[in-house]
Symmetry: C2
Subunit: 751 residues, 2 copies
């Protein structure tokens, strides 16, 4: 281990100096004269970052299971808080009380045509120290599954997403009253029981297929990093796309005396019982299935012929939970701004884990802690950030972003007024830079990524990311990658603590990290351990250092800049893409529907079907109408015009070296904050008012996966044409309002 | 079984009458007044076709192993000949003497890191009657492998085609002196040892991966039709793209006194030993491999992580053969033409098998026999074909198209003068019509396919094929399928007995059959049995009947037509596609080479590579020059003009009801024959003069897979720009010559 660690660090230092050339570049948000000072501050910051801290904190924090409600969850929070205090932060632990069910009974039996009782346990693995601490481990289960005791025929439903059920319909297979078995992947896990229940299934089993998460991908633990035969994946199955956080307290902080929903009214709990299992436990079940052979794309890597069922396999699934209220503890550490203390740069990573959580979340957390220590050191040496920096170590992320959401809901008014940017991270590992977030920050993130050296390749993390994206790109994508000044950052869906900030309050957010060379299958298992992480995740914490340097730069610049370094150009260009996409979506759906109807009319399905198999001809669908996108098109035109005028004004004033008064700078910061807020609406998205952002939302049927222009896009996807029309008007209004704010900024610049 | 059989037949009869509407259509090659007579002849023919004959012949012919040189091979030939005689054919058995090695020693051992000795045997399976006759079965082996006794480290090479070795190069893996293990698929099997040897490997193991041929595809035998754990695939590994037939007698018939090459000069034998194994035997070998994890697309369905090696697995491979000369026996049955006896319509299917060969080739053979019986019956009732019909049951197809090739080589002069069309079939099964061949016959085949009823779908086999092609098509393909009058027929590469006719003599050929719903994995194993075929291949021989009706119509019409129903329009349109393709090939290669070189220059590979793995940066390649395609473009323009003038002339003469004298009709037949011959050149293709056709050839590195415009295409593919230029001139000359022949036809029509 040590040798890899040292090699990594040596390389890194060489790079830092090699990358010196970029230091003469301008720095967004900073006057040319101030940029060198800021860069010299960053060099001091870099020098303070030590891999050894991360290693020792991770070893300590992952030494015992520290899930929500556990002794070590509390202990870790207190320990983290004590460290922040020692670095000079004004630190407090905020406590909430949340619903956190844990299993009392977990039973899964194959009852016919042969019998098998699933073990549902992850065995200790030699060489993996903590895997033997079985008594304190939370067993394999899906959190926020309802209680249930069901029996019935088994049906294999692939990923269990809506289109999989269309495929089953084609084969005349109905899951009503049956128990479905779905493989992990293809959507967030919480979507699987939701869709299964919508189709009338009585229970849902989710398994890790070795095709996607096991020996097909690579050698299994402990020989390699991948999921072994009886490794499983815990995880939340709450209907998070409805609302995040404690199921009992939507919209309000889960404080001691908060008004809580009765358990029965908690709409994010599943309506059918769910249980996750390993591929070792799944094999006997799948092997016992009969019925048609599964479509080729549905087949995994188990050494069997995958069948759909239903039956002859029948199973008995029983899960019962202790529906406990438990405390969660967020660590909130503040470094007050000297100039604009009421503009907050918030930085967070969760600390709770499903078991030991070395990779998820500690790899990200310890890097953030090291970053915070570095920032604290600078502050101790007389530097003061202009804006207030708030470091947050969230609890309860795993069950459903509980810690961040309850904190955001509790402090919603203050945050709406003061939060400028939220920067999130979660697990971190060896590999490539990845960033998602508000597109007003795309240029800024790109600039930072061009100034951080990659420890493996001797180029900037931006250049390395571009190289790998070029290798994986289609021809048109490659062209854009080479010609566009900035690498695109992804839009955020959900799956980590940025969600309440961005999508519930409209606070500009970023989610950043490294990965892609840390392949493995320890996710949400007992094997996500210190031993596993230091062999496969990021030996030597080399990318922990890089992440600290990246996030540190982001925080320092955002906190120090004269004006928050936002930009409307990339934002507007991105919105134009989304508008194109939703229009194309409607056109494609129209073509597909016409084509489907033509095939039905032409008897194409009937004539080509194998008469020895069951094939149900799909039903003809109503043609997709032409939709009035003009409000969105007009709003986009307005946005483009406003953006262009703003850029011109910027170029002829600030960029031309014109003075920017402190007052004007504050007004521009306010414009930036108001701008992201302006992308939200009071009423929120159809059927899920908690989500108010009109540009970014987790998909109702993707979960983590983002839907951009979600109101419009999901109305089209679900063929709700009336709603599509309404949502187009709403999205257009949102963009017009945003354009108006930009115009205000233009006037301000010209004053 | 019987119930399926009866259902199929009932459906068929209903269809025959339902399909009556097409009978009013014109019939290519026939005067409008004669078409009804021909169709009534076909109705009589249809009525004669009986599934029960096929079943009983197959049961008999597959009751014992009947590979080349076996007692039952001889017995079957005699039996088939006796039947043809009984149906009124002038029948003889033509014998040749060919090299046919069979194994004396087959040894495959894993010698490290653990030991395993491959069983190399296919166990008897309960319910599969013949599988128990182990004594008479030819063991699992690859025919025309050289003798060899080699040992060394093992390397997994995916399909073992050239691009797989490029991938290995990228990872710094060299196969020199090592033994490669390749999975079946991705090319014809004979390509694998050839390419392995070109890269310096000392031995080659070929295994059937369950991903492509086993439980991944469907339930294994006997539960289902697919290859079971220890089922293997025999087959020839001769370098057939060099020349077909007996390795010792290229260009000449392997008659008793033919001049033979010494064994050492037989260039189609492999230069390294080869052995095929089951996935049961492959598993321990693959499991023992170390080195990098194989690329995702290389991984099969065995429950392991696929590694590339080399080693630590080392193997010992020893194969020794009896290099025997054995007799092969072609059954040639002639029905002399009454009008143009010197114009031959030749119809063939092989009779030899690797073991029992119920599917391959007997399913096709018994259908052809029933077809021949039907034609014989018509002849017995006073009908006489205008042209001579020759039915051929080939021996020795499996080792390398021996029977057909030696017969063609022996009778080359006579065939060049007399053969009008060769119609081939091989295995046949339940499913969709499939046709490949000379595009001058595309319109004709389409017309026939529109008049044969599909026994499952109640529509014509053409309509059913179109439906399934539409379902599988991309959007642009779908448009063509719907708008083009004819379904495209494939171009022929190799893999069955059409090769010597089409590609060595330039005789217009067709290859037809049904399949696609007869999925399974009995190919070239002992389980290709009567029991297997009648459960999964074509229960009730329903598609055997359909095939007889299809091929029967083709034979009857070709034999009876006033003029052979050829057409230049589809041919020319197809050639235009091929010309487009080879030009695009060069352009695409240019873009790819430029892109590769840019990535090397930009360090895209280096920067994105994982430093913990071995990655060799590819070498920069010479830019692809612009090639002078103008000779080909000009020749194509000429061909288009000639075709268009011929069509006009046809429309204003024959199609307008003008009289076609017998002499003119004969001249047009001659034109047709000369036309296909004109597509050949004396010198043949570069490096393989046996293959003389300039439009269709098996690919040097695909084997069965066709390369159209092969001289030009393969020169470009191998970046031999000088040869590409030369081949463009040759192909252009060929097309110009062909255009000249068409012009002659136009003059003839106008006379």
């Amino acid at each position: 281990m040590d040798s890899i660690c040292h090699r990594g660090l040596t390389v890194l230092f060489m790079l830092s100096s090699a990358a010196g050339v970029v230091f003469s570049q301008p720095m967004a948000g900073f006057d040319t004269s101030r940029a060198p000072d800021e860069r010299s501050l960053e060099a001091k910051f870099d020098a303070a970052i030590k891999a050894e801290d991360m290693r020792s904190w991770m070893k300590d924090l992952s030494s015992h299971a520290h899930h929500v409600g556990s002794k070590y969850d509390e202990k870790n929070a207190a320990y983290i808080a004590s460290l922040f205090r020692s670095w000079g932060y004004d630190t407090r632990v905020e406590e909430f009380s949340v619903l956190f069910p844990t299993p009392k009974t977990r039973l899964l039996e194959l009852t016919a045509p042969v019998t098998y009782r699933a073990g549902l346990t992850e065995p200790p693995i030699p060489g993996d120290t903590t895997s033997g601490q079985t008594a304190e481990q939370l067993p394999l289960y899906n959190c926020y599954s309802c209680d249930g005791d069901v029996a019935g025929q088994l049906v294999y439903v692939n990923f269990g997403v809506p289109k999989d059920y269309e495929e089953l319909d084609r084969r005349g297979i109905d899951v009503k009253g049956k128990i479905v078995i779905a493989r992990y992947g293809g959507s967030w896990r919480g979507i699987k029981p939701k869709v299964a229940a919508e189709h009338g299934a009585s229970g849902c089993i989710i398994f890790s297929d070795p095709r996607d998460d096991g020996y097909f991908e690579g050698d299994v633990y402990p020989r390699g990093a991948y999921r072994s035969e009886f490794g499983g994946q815990r995880g939340s199955v709450a209907d998070m796309p409805l609302y995040a956080g404690d199921p009992l307290t939507p919209f309000v902080g889960a404080t001691k005396n908060a008004k809580r929903l009765p358990l029965k009214e908690a709409r994010t709990l599943t309506s059918i019982p769910v249980l996750p299992i390993s591929y070792g436990d799944a094999l006997p079940l799948l092997r016992a299935l009969g019925g048609p052979v599964a479509p080729a794309e549905w087949r995994g890597a188990l050494p069997i012929t995958y069948h759909l069922g239903p039956g002859p396999a029948t199973v008995h699934l029983k899960v019962e939970f202790s529906w406990d209220m438990v405390p969660i503890r967020d660590v909130i550490a503040t470094l007050k701004g000297s100039g604009q203390p009421d503009e907050w740069i918030i930085r967070g990573n969760h600390h709770d884990a499903w078991v030991y959580g070395a990779g998820d979340p500690l790899s990200g957390l310890v890097s953030m802690m090291e970053e915070a220590r570095g920032v604290g050191l600078l502050a101790g040496r007389g530097w003061h950030p202009k804006r207030t920096i708030v470091y947050c170590a969230w609890d309860g992320e795993e069950p459903g972003l509980l810690g961040s959401t309850e904190w955001v809901e509790t402090h919603a008014d203050e945050l709406s007024g003061k939060a400028a940017v939220y920067i999130n991270s979660d697990g971190n590992g060896r590999g490539f830079f990845s960033a998602g977030g508000s597109h007003t920050l795309e240029k800024f993130v790109n600039q930072v990524a061009r100034e951080v050296a990659d420890p493996e390749s001797h180029v900037s993390v931006s250049e390395r990311l571009k190289a790998v994206q070029i290798l994986r790109a289609t021809v048109p994508e490659r062209k854009v990658l080479r010609e566009r000044a900035d690498l695109r950052i992804g839009a955020l869906g959900s799956g980590s603590d940025f969600t309440p900030f961005l999508q519930h309050l409209g606070i500009a957010s970023l989610n950043i990290g490294y990965g892609g060379e840390n392949g493995g299958g320890s996710y949400h298992s007992v094997y996500d351990s210190f031993d596993h992480f230091t062999r496969f995740g990021d030996p030597g914490f080399v990318y922990g250092v890089t992440q600290a340097q990246t996030a540190g730069r982001i925080v320092l610049r955002l906190a120090d800049a004269e004006v928050v370094p936002f930009d409307f150009e990339d934002f507007t260009e991105t919105i134009a893409l989304y508008v194109q996409e939703v229009m194309k979506l409607a056109d494609d759906m129209r073509d597909e529907t016409d084509e489907l109807n033509r095939k039905i009319r032409d008897k194409t399905f009937d004539v080509s079907a194998d008469p020895t198999e069951t094939w149900i001809t799909p039903k003809a669908e109503n043609p997709v109408p032409y939709i009035d996108f003009s409000p969105l098109q007009n709003a986009l035109a307005l946005l483009k015009r406003s953006t262009s005028l703003y850029c011109d004004a910027w170029k002829t004033t600030v960029a031309a070296g014109g003075a920017l008064t402190a007052e004007k700078a504050r007004s521009l910061d306010r414009l930036f904050m108001d701008f992201e807020r302006s992308l939200t609406t009071k009423q929120g998205l159809p059927g899920r008012p908690w989500y108010v952002h009109q540009i970014y939302a987790p998909g109702r049927y993707t979960g983590y996966g983002v839907k951009t222009l979600p109101g419009v896009r999901e109305a089209i996807e679900t063929k709700n044409w009336k709603e599509a029309g309404e949502q187009i008007v709403i999205a257009a209004g949102t963009l017009e309002h945003a354009a108006g704010l930009i115009d205000g900024g233009t006037s301000l610049l010209k004053q």
